[in-house]
C-alpha cells in the first residue's frame, strides 16, 4: 500500500509579493512560483500512455491496488494536491460561502490529483492581488479542506505556505489553528521570502516592522505545531534543486527458503532459513516514450485523434523468387540447430524445459579471496529474514556473522519460481551496524564464460624465443615511476575538502545521479509548459561530475607535462585509402542484410543438393542455407536494406551498381505507384541514395537521376506533381558542392532546381530537347 499524500499549497499573492524587487533577483512571487512548480512537477504523473483516471473516484481507488503498472515516474494517484491563493481581489472558497470571514482567499484547485493545468496556472496565471489578507485564515481553510477530504483515512498531510510576511495577521486565532493542525496531524511548513536563515547566513536588514513581527510569529506558530518547519526561500530553492529520485516500494523478488542439506528427508541435520530477497541495485529505467504519428497531426479529419501508432507484423516467404506474404496460421515454430530446423510440437513444448522447484540451496563455500569478481554477471540483491520473525532473524544473523568471520562466501543454486531456470549465485555477508544482510549476485556458468588469451603486458618475446628488455611496448622505469606519482596525484579520496576542511571523497556512488534520467524528466516538464522552447541543457552539476575536477587539473599540470615528454603517445593517422571511398561503410556498418530473393535463389540450389536428406527424414527437414550471401541486387521488397548492404560490401565495389539499380527502383516506384501508395517508400529510398552518393563520390549520378526524376514527374500522363511536392517537403535537392567535393552544383542552383515550378521544369525539359535537336 503506497502512502497516501495530501498536500495544500498556499501562495500569498498580495501586493508586496509581486511589486517588490528582491535581493536574490526577481519578485517574491517569481521565487514562490519556481518553488511550487518544482514541488508540483515531482507529483505530476508521467505515463507512456493514457490510463483511466478519474480524480473524483480516487478516494475509492486508493484502497485497491494501483490500477496501472509501469510507466509511472512522477507521483502516484494517491498523491493529491490543492492550490490556494490569498490576497486576491476576489473571494472564492466554500468556507466564506458558508460562514463568511475568509475574505480575499481563492481556492484555485481543490484537493485532487495534480494535472497539467495546475502547473500552467502556477507558471503563468497566478493572480496579482491588491488586498491584504490573513495568512492564518488561509491555513485554517486548508486544514478544514484536508479534514473534509481525508476524513479518518490515513494520509500524510502537509501544508506549504509561501509568503513574504508583509500582511497583517490576526493573532487571536493562533491557538485554534495549532489545535486544528495537531489534532489532524497536519505538517505546517512556512516558506518565507527574505526570511532569515542562520545556516545559510542569509539576513535581510531592511525589514519592515510588520515583517519582523510576522516572521517571529510564524516561527513560534510552527514551534507549537507538532510537525512543521520555517524555511527561507533561499534554502527551499537550494533543497529543491537536488535531483529527485522516485522511491520504489520494496517488493521481494524471492520469498522462500535458503537451505543447506536435504531438509525434507533430514530436517534435523539440515540448515533452513526463511528469507526474503530484495533488489539492492537495479538499473533505473529511462522513461520510455510512446510512438506518436505526425501524420495524424497534419490530417484534416475532425474526429477525435489518438495520434497512436499501430504495429503490424507480417511474414514473408519466397515463391519463385517472389516474396509472398504468409498467414500466421500457416507457420510453425522451429528451433535451429546448425543448418537443421527442428519444428516444435506446440502441445509438447514443455519437453524443452528442465523441471525445477522454487529454492535457494547452498552448494558449497569458498574463501572470499578465491573468488574473482570477473565472474559476477548481474545486479545485486539483498537477502533478509522475514519481517517480524526474530527467531529466523537470529539464525540468519548467526550465519551472516559466521561467513563474515570466516571470510567466506557461499555458492548457491537459485530457482526463483517453480520451473524457472536455475541460476548460480554467490552469497556475500554484509555487516554495517546496525544493518546486515547477505548480498546475492549471479555468477557465470560454463557456457557464459569465454576464455581469451592476450599477450603479456610486461614481457615481449622475440621470434627466437628470447625475452626482449627494451621494446616500445614496455614502459621504462622512469615511466613507471612517474605513473605512480600520477596515480597519487589523481587521488579522489583527499583532493576535495568539506566545509570543515576535512578531506571528502569525490564521486561517491550515492552522489552521482544519472544525468540522462533527470534531463529527460526536466525536458518533459519543460516542454509541457513551454511547447515552443528547445529542450533544456543537462544539469550542470551532474555534467561536471563526468569531467575531471579543476583542482586535479591544476595540481597535476607539471607532472603531466613530464609524462607527456616520456610517454610520447602519437595518434595513428589512418591511411587515406581506408577513409576515402568507404567512409559511408565505416560510419554505419549495419548488419548484413540480404534481399529475400537472394536467399531464396540460393535456397533452391541448396535444397537440391540436400534434398535427399530432407526427404528421408519425416519430422525434420534440413535445409542448407546459402553461404553465398553477397547482395548484388536492389530488390523491391526492401530496397533500402539491399542498397545499404551493397554499399557496405567491403570486399567488392558494388557502389556504382547499387546506385544505378536504386535509381531504377525509385523510378519504377514512381511510375507504377497506384495513387500515392508507393511514394513514401520511394522517398525513403531517395534519402538513402542521396546520403550514399554524397559520401561515395557518386554525386553526378545522383544529380542526373534527380533531373530525370523531375522530368518524369512533370511530363508523365497524368503528371506526378504530388510526388515532387513530397520531394520538396523532404528537401531532397541536388547534392551541392558544400556537401560533396565532387559536386559542381552550387547550393543556390540546388535550391532553385528543387523549388522551380512545374512550368519551368517543362520548359527546361523542352530546352533540353531543343539542344538535342541542335546537336543532330
Amino acid at each position: 500500500m503506497a502512502d497516501k499524500k495530501c498536500t495544500v499549497y498556499i501562495i500569498d499573492v498580495g501586493p508586496t509579493m509581486w511589486k517588490k524587487e528582491r535581493k536574490q533577483g526577481g519578485k517574491g512571487l517569481d521565487l514562490t512560483k519556481k518553488a511550487v512548480l518544482t514541488m508540483l512537477e515531482a507529483k505530476v504523473n508521467i505515463f507512456s500512455s493514457f490510463v483511466e483516471n478519474n480524480a473524483a473516484n480516487s478516494q475509492f481507488d486508493i484502497n485497491s491496488r494501483l490500477p496501472f503498472c509501469g510507466g509511472v515516474i512522477g507521483g502516484l494517484k494517491t498523491d493529491l494536491t490543492s492550490l490556494i491563493v490569498y490576497g486576491t481581489d476576489e473571494t472564492n472558497n466554500y468556507m466564506n460561502d458558508e460562514s463568511g470571514g475568509y475574505e480575499n482567499i481563492s481556492v484555485l484547485y481543490p484537493i485532487e490529483q495534480p494535472k497539467l493545468p495546475i502547473l500552467r496556472t502556477v507558471n503563468e496565471e497566478l493572480p496579482h492581488g491588491n488586498q491584504e489578507s490573513d495568512a492564518l485564515d488561509a491555513i485554517s481553510l486548508a486544514v478544514e479542506m484536508i479534514n473534509t477530504h481525508c476524513r479518518t483515512l490515513k494520509y500524510t498531510k502537509k501544508i506549504y505556505l509561501l509568503t513574504d510576511g508583509e500582511s497583517p495577521i490576526d493573532r487571536s486565532n493562533r491557538e485554534k489553528i495549532v489545535e486544528q493542525a495537531n489534532s489532524s496531524n497536519v505538517e505546517l511548513n512556512i516558506l518565507g521570502v527574505d526570511f532569515d536563515d542562520e545556516e545559510l547566513g542569509f539576513f535581510e536588514n531592511n525589514k519592515s516592522d510588520m515583517k519582523k513581527r510576522n516572521e517571529k510569529f510564524f516561527r513560534k506558530l510552527v514551534d507549537d505545531c507538532q510537525q512543521g518547519t520555517v524555511f527561507s526561500m533561499e534554502e527551499t530553492l537550494r533543497q529543491l534543486s537536488k535531483p529527485y529520485i522516485r522511491v520504489v516500494r520494496p517488493t521481494p523478488v524471492y520469498k522462500g527458503t535458503l537451505s543447506l542439506g536435504d531438509f525434507e528427508t533430514n530436517p534435523q541435520s539440515s540448515l533452513v532459513f526463511n528469507v526474503e530477497m530484495y533488489n539492492r541495485t537495479t538499473k533505473a529505467k529511462l522513461l520510455t516514450a510512446k510512438k506518436y504519428s505526425s501524420i495524424a497531426e497534419t490530417s484534416t479529419s475532425n474526429d477525435k485523434k489518438t495520434f497512436e501508432v499501430n504495429v503490424s507484423k507480417s511474414h514473408y516467404i519466397s515463391n519463385n523468387n517472389e516474396a509472398v506474404e504468409v498467414q500466421m496460421d500457416e507457420l510453425n515454430k522451429a528451433y535451429i540447430l546448425g543448418k537443421t530446423y527442428v519444428p516444435v510440437d506446440e502441445l509438447n513444448e514443455e519437453i524443452f524445459n528442465l523441471p525445477t522447484k522454487e529454492s535457494m540451496q547452498i552448494i558449497c563455500f569458498l574463501k572470499s579471496d578465491d573468488l574473482n569478481r570477473t565472474y559476477f554477471m548481474s545486479n545485486v540483491s539483498a537477502i533478509l529474514p522475514p519481517k517480524e520473525d526474530p527467531i529466523m532473524a537470529q539464525r540468519l544473523s548467526a550465519f551472516i556473522h559466521a561467513l563474515y568471520e570466516k571470510e567466506s562466501y557461499a555458492i548457491v543454486r537459485y530457482v526463483r519460481k517453480n520451473n524457472e531456470t536455475p541460476k548460480l549465485g554467490i552469497l556475500i555477508p554484509y555487516i554495517k551496524t546496525p544493518k546486515e544482510c547477505l548480498h546475492f549476485i549471479r555468477i557465470a556458468f560454463r557456457e557464459d564464460y569465454r576464455r581469451f588469451t592476450f599477450p603479456s603486458l610486461d614481457r615481449v618475446i622475440s621470434k627466437s624465443g628470447k625475452q626482449i628488455v627494451n621494446h616500445p611496448y614496455l614502459p621504462t622505469d622512469q615511466i613507471e615511476y612517474k605513473m605512480g606519482k600520477f596515480i597519487e596525484g589523481m587521488d579522489l579520496t583527499n583532493s576535495l575538502t568539506d566545509e570543515e576542511g576535512k578531506p571528502k571523497e569525490h564521486l561517491k556512488v550515492k552522489e552521482c545521479f544519472n544525468p540522462i534520467i533527470h534531463r529527460t524528466k526536466r525536458a518533459i516538464c519543460h516542454r509541457a509548459l513551454h511547447t515552443d522552447e528547445s529542450i533544456p541543457s543537462p544539469d550542470p552539476e551532474m555534467v561536471a561530475q563526468t569531467k575531471l575536477i579543476p583542482c586535479l587539473i591544476e595540481k597535476n599540470k607539471e607532472l603531466i607535462d613530464e609524462l607527456r615528454e616520456i610517454l610520447k603517445i602519437k595518434k595513428v593517422i589512418k591511411e587515406k585509402g581506408k577513409t576515402g571511398k568507404r567512409r559511408f561503410a565505416d560510419a554505419n556498418r549495419p548488419p548484413q542484410i540480404h534481399s529475400l530473393d537472394e536467399i531464396l535463389n540460393n535456397d533452391e540450389l541448396d535444397t537440391r543438393e540436400n534434398g535427399k536428406r530432407a526427404r528421408t527424414e519425416n519430422d525434420v527437414i534440413s535445409d542448407t542455407l546459402s553461404q553465398q550471401e553477397i547482395v548484388r541486387e536492389v530488390g523491391t521488397v526492401d530496397p533500402v536494406s539491399n542498397f545499404k548492404a551493397m554499399i557496405l560490401n567491403r570486399d567488392e565495389d558494388l557502389v556504382t551498381s547499387a546506385v544505378e539499380q536504386m535509381s531504377g527502383v525509385i523510378l519504377h516506384y514512381v511510375k507504377t505507384s497506384f495513387g500515392e501508395g508507393l511514394y513514401k517508400k520511394a522517398i525513403e529510398c531517395m534519402k538513402a541514395l542521396r546520403q550514399a552518393c554524397a559520401q561515395e563520390n557518386e554525386t553526378s549520378r545522383f544529380n542526373d537521376f534527380l533531373k530525370e526524376l523531375k522530368t518524369l514527374c512533370f511530363n508523365s500522363q497524368p503528371p506526378k506533381t504530388h510526388f515532387w511536392e513530397s520531394v520538396i517537403r523532404e528537401k531532397i535537392s541536388l547534392i551541392s558542392e558544400d556537401e560533396a567535393p565532387d559536386s559542381t552544383t552550387t547550393t543556390q542552383e540546388a535550391e532553385s532546381f528543387l523549388n522551380d515550378t512545374a512550368d519551368k521544369s517543362n520548359i527546361s525539359a523542352m530546352n533540353d530537347d531543343e539542344v538535342a535537336t541542335d546537336d543532330l
Partner: protein, 636 residues
C-alpha cells in the same frame, strides 16, 4: 545461420528506427552483429599416424581426443549462435584419400561448411564409438607423405569458401610428429614453402602438439620454421596440449572464438594532447540463453524460414508510416508532450565517445554490492594511438602495486549512454606450464548511479534493531557467539579449494534444452534426464556436516527461548536508532567493556570496527583482536 541472423538483425534495425530511445548499450545484439559481419573459418587437421592411435597412460587415444575436440568446437558454434562460422575436418596420414587436389594420404572428412548437428554426430561416431575401426574405414599409412601437400590442400579448401565477410582463417593442426621430414630435405623445403604461402594468404596455423609417452614434442625441430610468432601481439600459435584430453580441449576451446572487440575507444588519461591512448573492450562473460524460436513455413516441398517485416500504421488515418513520421510522446499530467526523435536523441547526448579518467580510489572503494552486470575486459590498442601499450602497461603495473582502482566516465559507443565505471587491474596468471590462465588488462565494472541503488527495506527483525531498543547495550545486539561459532565448522568442512571455476558448472536448463533438441533433430528417443552439476550433493553434505548442523539447530532453539518477548515494532526502532548514532555507541561501549575487563564479549565485527575507528589495522583471530584492543587502551 545466415537467414536467421538476417531476420533478427533486420527487425532490430526497424525497431531502432521507430523507437529512438531504447538504444542502451546493447552489446548482445552488437555481438551477434559482429559475429555475422566477421565470420571465422577453422580447419581441423588431425594427424592419423599410428602413434596418434595409441592409448596414453590415461586411456585416452590422442586421435580420438582430437576428433572430440573438433566435435566440441562445432557444437559450441551451434549453441553459441556463432553458426555463421565455417568449420572443416581433415585427416592426414590415411591410406584412403579424398581431397580436391587428389593428393595421397589426405582425407577431407568434412568440407569447409557451416556447422550442423549431423556433422557433429558424424565426428562423435568416429571419436566415441568403440566399434568404429578407423584403420578399416580410412586406413593408416606408414609411408612418408609430403606435408607440403597437406598445406596445399588446406589453402585450396579455404579458397573454396565464397563468403565475403570472412575475417579469420585458421588451421588447428593437431599432431605428435615434431619432425616430419627429418631425412627428406626436399619434402621439408616444400612443406616450409607451402606453409609460408598459407601465412601470406592470411591463413593462420595453430599448432596443438601432443607428446608421446617416451618423447616430448620439440617444437624447434621443425615447426618454428613455419609458425611465425605474431610480433604485433606476441601470441604464440604453438600450444602444448600434451597433458591429457582435458588440457587439449580447454586449449582448443580457449582458441575457438577469435577475439572480437566490442568497442574501440580513446581512453583519456588527462586533458589535452598526448595523454589519450587507445583501448579495446571485450566481453568474456555473457549470459547464454536458449535461442528464440523462428517461424517456418512447412506447407511446401521444403521448409522455409520466414522473413518478418514490421509495418507502422497511423491509427487515425490508417496510413503506413515511415520512420520519419514517428515522433515520441509522453503523457504528462494528463496531456501529450511530444518530442521529435532528434530531440530525444539530444537529451541522451552527454559526454564524448570514449573513457575519461576522473581519478583513483583505493581498491576497497569498489564495494562488492556496487555491481550492475558482467564486466568488460580492457586491453590497449596501438592502432589508435602509438604508445598505448607502454602507457597502459605502466598504469596497470602501478595500480596493482598501489592497490587502486580508476574511476572513469564512459561512453562506449557513439550514441550510447554515459555511465560511471571502475577499472580494476587484473594481473596476468600463468599455469605451471606457462600457459596463460588469466590475461593481463583491466576489468571494467559499471558502477550504479544513485538512481540505481535501492535502500535496504526496513528489516527491524534482523536482530540489531530489536535488541538495541530492548537491552540498550551495543554488544548484545549481535547474535550470540555460541551460535556464530556453531556455524563455522560447517563452512570450513564444505569449502572448495582453488576458487570458483565456471568450467565446473554447466547450465542445466541449456543442457536439457539442447539434449532434447538434438534427440529430436536426429530422430532419437528423447532422453529427458540430464546430469545437473549445480544440484547440491546432499548425501555428502549430510555425511560431512550433518552432525554440526544438528548441534546448531539445537543451540538455535535454545537461544530462541531467551529472545525478548516484547516485540518492538519497526517504527520506533527506526526513530530511536536515528537518535543515537551507531558508531559512537560501539566506541563508548568498548571503553566500558575495557573498564570491566570484558572486551572479549564484543564480537569480531565490533572489535574490527572499533580498531578501524581508532586507526589500528585489525589482524588475526578474535583473541588477537581482543589483545589489540587491550593494548590500545593500556597505551592510553
Amino acid at each position: 545461420m545466415s537467414s536467421s541472423a538476417t531476420i533478427s538483425s533486420w527487425s532490430s534495425v526497424i525497431d531502432d528506427q521507430s523507437d529512438g530511445f531504447e538504444a542502451e548499450d546493447d552489446f548482445e545484439t552488437e555481438e551477434l552483429r559482429l559475429a555475422s559481419g566477421n565470420r571465422d573459418a577453422i580447419l581441423f587437421v588431425i594427424d592419423c599416424s599410428l602413434s596418434m592411435m595409441k592409448e596414453d597412460e590415461n586411456g585416452d587415444v590422442p586421435f580420438r581426443s582430437a576428433t572430440q575436440c573438433a566435435s566440441a568446437v562445432m557444437m559450441n558454434k551451434i549453441i553459441s549462435a556463432n553458426d555463421n562460422d565455417f568449420l572443416g575436418v581433415m585427416f592426414i596420414g590415411t591410406e584412403k584419400s579424398k581431397n580436391p587436389l587428389e593428393k595421397d594420404h589426405i582425407y577431407v572428412l568434412q568440407n569447409m561448411d557451416l556447422s550442423d548437428i549431423h556433422r557433429v554426430m558424424e565426428l562423435n561416431e568416429i571419436a566415441d564409438d568403440e566399434q568404429f575401426d578407423f584403420a578399416h574405414e580410412y586406413g593408416i599409412t606408414e609411408k612418408e607423405y609430403p606435408l607440403g601437400d597437406v598445406f596445399w590442400v588446406c589453402s585450396e579448401l579455404f579458397n573454396s569458401i565464397a563468403a565475403s565477410t570472412l575475417k579469420t582463417k585458421r588451421i588447428f593442426f593437431i599432431t605428435d610428429q615434431d619432425n616430419p621430414h627429418s631425412a627428406n630435405s626436399i619434402f621439408r623445403k616444400a612443406a616450409i614453402t607451402r606453409a609460408r604461402d598459407l601465412v601470406e594468404s592470411k591463413i593462420e596455423i595453430n599448432l596443438f602438439s601432443i607428446s608421446g609417452a617416451d618423447s616430448t614434442f620439440d617444437v624447434n625441430a621443425f615447426y618454428t620454421e613455419i609458425i611465425p610468432t605474431d610480433e604485433e601481439y606476441g601470441d604464440s600459435p604453438h600450444i602444448n596440449a600434451s597433458k591429457n584430453f582435458n588440457s587439449l580441449l580447454s586449449q582448443i576451446l580457449s582458441k575457438e572464438s577469435p577475439r572480437r572487440s566490442m568497442f574501440s575507444v580513446p581512453f583519456r588519461l588527462f586533458e589535452g594532447e598526448g595523454m589519450t591512448i587507445g583501448v579495446k573492450g571485450y566481453i568474456m562473460i555473457s549470459e547464454q540463453k536458449k535461442p528464440a524460436y523462428k517461424w517456418v513455413h512447412m506447407r511446401g516441398e521444403t521448409t522455409r524460414l520466414t522473413e518478418s517485416r514490421t509495418k507502422l500504421i497511423c491509427a487515425d488515418t490508417t496510413q503506413e508510416l515511415l520512420p520519419q513520421d514517428i515522433k515520441c510522446c509522453f503523457i504528462y499530467g494528463g496531456e501529450r508532450v511530444v518530442f521529435t526523435k532528434d530531440e530525444m536523441q539530444r537529451i541522451k547526448e552527454i559526454g564524448d565517445k570514449g573513457i575519461t579518467l576522473l581519478g583513483f580510489k583505493p581498491a576497497s572503494a569498489l564495494k562488492v554490492h556496487y555491481n550492475m552486470g558482467p564486466p568488460y575486459f580492457i586491453y590497449p590498442d596501438e592502432e589508435q594511438y602509438e604508445g598505448s601499450r607502454r602507457t597502459f602497461a605502466a598504469l596497470h603495473k602501478k595500480m596493482i602495486e598501489m592497490e587502486k582502482v580508476a574511476i572513469c566516465a564512459a561512453n562506449l559507443r557513439a550514441g550510447s549512454l554515459i555511465k560511471f565505471v571502475a577499472l580494476k587491474p587484473q594481473p596476468e596468471l600463468l599455469d605451471d606450464e606457462g600457459q596463460q590462465i588469466q590475461p593481463p588488462g583491466f576489468t571494467m565494472f559499471t558502477l550504479p548511479f544513485a538512481d540505481d541503488i535501492r535502500p535496504l527495506p526496513p528489516h527491524s527483525s534482523v536482530t540489531p534493531g530489536i535488541y538495541f531498543i530492548v537491552i540498550y547495550v551495543t554488544y548484545a545486539i549481535f547474535p550470540p557467539d555460541i551460535l556464530v561459532d556453531a556455524i563455522k565448522p560447517i563452512i570450513e568442512k564444505l569449502q572448495i579449494r582453488g576458487g570458483y571455476d565456471p568450467q565446473r558448472f554447466k547450465n542445466p536448463s541449456l543442457a536439457r534444452f539442447y539434449n532434447v533438441l538434438i534427440d529430436l533433430a536426429i530422430n532419437r528417443d528423447v532422453e529427458e534426464e540430464i546430469t545437473d552439476s549445480t544440484l547440491p550433493k546432499n548425501s555428502l553434505i549430510h555425511q560431512r556436516v550433518g552432525e554440526f548442523i544438528k548441534l546448531f539447530n539445537i543451540e538455535a532453539n535454545e537461544q530462541a527461548k531467551s529472545l525478548p518477548e516484547i516485540y518492538t515494532p519497526s517504527r520506533s526502532s527506526r526513530s530511536s536508532s536515528s537518535r543515537a548514532p551507531k558508531s559512537q555507541g560501539s566506541h563508548v561501549d568498548m571503553i566500558t567493556l575495557y573498564a570491566e575487563n570484558k572486551v572479549n564479549r564484543a564480537t569480531v565485527v565490533q572489535l574490527k570496527e572499533f580498531l578501524n575507528s581508532v586507526g589500528i589495522k585489525p589482524s588475526g583471530k578474535k583473541d588477537d583482536l581482543v589483545n589489540q584492543v587491550n593494548i590500545y587502551f593500556e597505551s592510553k
